[in-house]
Symmetry: C2
Subunit: 256 residues, 2 copies
C-alpha cells in the first residue's frame, strides 16, 4: 500500500522487537537510518517504544545496501510528553481522508478517537479495509514518527449512532470538563462556550454535510454544547486539525 511520505523524526519500535537492549531492524526503518539519516556504527539516533518510553539507540552494525539492516543497542529512559487533554468523536470519513486524519490526530496528540456512524456517512465507508486494526495502526504510527511521540491514540469503531449515544457516552461523559459538538452555522463560538477550568475535552466532529438535527439533539441530551467556527465550511480533514488546534490552545491557557 502507498503510504504518505512523513518525516521520521523518531524511529519507533514495537515492544516485541526489543530483545534485552539489542534491536535488529530491516525494511523501511533500516532504510531510513542508513539512507536518510546516513548513520554509521557509533552514531546515536532518537528511538522510542510504541506506548512506552523514549530514548536513543547506538548503531552497532548496518548494511548500507539492499537488503538494508541495522543493529543497535537502545536505552529508553524518558517517558513521552503527555498529549493534549483532548479526545475526539468523529463520524467515519471517506477512507482516503480517514488515513490522513489518523496520521494528523496521532501527530497532534489525542487520547481516544471514537469513530461513529452518522446519517450522512456513506454506508460503503464501513467496508473499507482501513477500519481494521492491521490497516489503520500504521497510519497512527506515521503520525507519531512525525511528532516524536510514542503514545498511540486508542481507536474504537461504533457502527450504530444510537447504541453509541445510549450505551457508550453515558459511561464516559463525566470524565470531561468540556463536551463540544462542532456544527457549521450561527451557534455560539468556541471561545463563548469553552470552560477553562482544568479538565479534558471531548470534541465531536460530524461528516461532510454535518450532523442531522436528530443527531445534534441526541448529543445535546448527552451533555454536548453546539458551537460553530464561523460561516466557512471546512472539509473534515481540515476541520479536525483546526478544531484540535483551537481546543489545544484554549486548554493550554486554563486557569490552574
Amino acid at each position: 500500500m502507498q503510504l504518505r511520505r512523513i518525516l521520521m523524526n523518531i524511529v519507533l519500535l514495537e515492544s516485541q522487537e526489543i530483545l534485552g537492549k539489542t534491536v535488529h531492524l530491516e525494511g523501511r526503518r533500516a532504510q531510513h537510518i542508513v539512507k536518510v539519516l546516513r548513520s554509521n556504527p557509533g552514531d546515536e539516533i532518537r528511538v522510542g517504544c510504541i506506548n512506552g518510553n523514549i530514548g536513543y539507540g547506538v548503531i552497532i552494525d548496518t548494511n548500507p545496501r539492499q537488503p538494508y539492516f541495522v543493529v543497535m543497542e537502545i536505552s529508553l529512559e524518558y517517558s513521552s510528553e503527555p498529549p493534549p487533554p483532548i479526545d475526539i468523536v468523529l463520524a467515519l470519513p471517506r477512507p482516503i481522508m480517514f488515513k490522513r486524519i489518523l496520521s494528523h490526530t496521532a501527530a497532534l496528540g489525542v487520547g481516544s478517537l471514537y469513530v461513529v456512524n452518522a446519517s450522512r456517512v456513506e454506508k460503503s465507508f464501513w467496508d473499507a479495509s482501513v477500519i481494521q486494526e492491521n490497516f489503520y495502526r500504521k497510519h497512527l504510527v506515521r503520525g507519531l514518527e512525525q511528532a516524536v511521540d510514542t503514545r498511540l491514540p486508542s481507536v474504537s469503531f461504533h457502527r450504530g449512532f444510537k447504541p453509541f449515544v445510549e450505551a457508550i457516552l453515558p459511561g464516559i461523559t463525566s470524565d470531561y470538563r468540556n463536551l463540544l459538538l462542532a456544527h457549521p452555522g450561527n451557534q455560539s463560538t468556541l471561545s463563548d462556550i469553552f470552560s477553562k477550568q482544568p479538565g479534558r475535552t471531548l470534541l465531536a466532529i460530524g461528516p461532510e454535510g454535518g450532523w442531522i438535527d436528530y443527531e445534534q439533539k441526541r448529543m445535546q441530551e448527552a451533555g454536548f454544547s453546539i458551537f460553530s467556527i464561523g460561516p466557512r465550511i471546512l472539509d473534515v480533514e481540515t476541520a479536525v486539525t483546526a478544531l484540535h488546534s483551537m481546543v489545544s490552545l484554549l486548554s493550554s491557557t486554563t486557569r490552574n
Copy 2:
C-alpha cells in the same frame, strides 16, 4: 491532472463567463450541478464570482447526460464575508503538499500568501509546475468552493530569501499588528506573544526541518517574534492549518 475531491458548496464563476445575467457552463461544474445537486430547470443554486459577489443562480436549461451543460440566470447581490485578518509567509513546500496547502489556506481564508525560499527548501521544488498561476490557481479555487467564499488569496513567489527580507518585508511589516515566526523548540508560546490589539497578523512558517539560525535572525531583525507550539513536530501541511486556526481564534477575541 487529478484534483483532490472537494465538496463544491458554491459554484464559482470567472467574471468573463458572466454575459449580462446569463451563464452557460460545461464540464466539471455542469456535471456537479446535474449529477450531484440533481438540479432541474427552475431550481436555485448558490453561485459566486471569483473575487466578486455571492448570490444565486436559477437553472434555465440543462443536459443531464454527456456532454453536460447548464444555462442559468444569476443574481450576485451579496459581498462575501471578509477573511480572517491573516497573511502567511511560507517556505515553498514539496509540490504535492503545496497543492493541498493552497486549497486549505483558501478554505481557511488568508489575504496574501508569500511563498519564499529557505535553506532547507529542496531546489527542485522551484521547478514544479504548481508555482505557475495556471496550475496553482485551480487549487485555490477548490478551497473557495469548499468554504463558500469568492476571495482568492493573493499569491506571490520569492526565489531569494535575502531579497524577500531586504526588499519586500520592509514595505509591508508596518501593515501588521503581529509579526510571528513559528519554530519548533522551547521559545515563547503563541498566547504569550500575541497582541490582542486589533490588526492583521503575518505568520511565517518554515520548511520541513525548520528555519536555519540565519533565517530566524534575519526575520527577527525584520520585526518577527519567534514562538513554538510545543514539543510535537508537525508536518508543514498540518502546521499551516493548526497555526492559522490558533491565530484566527486569538484574532476573534481581540479587544475592540
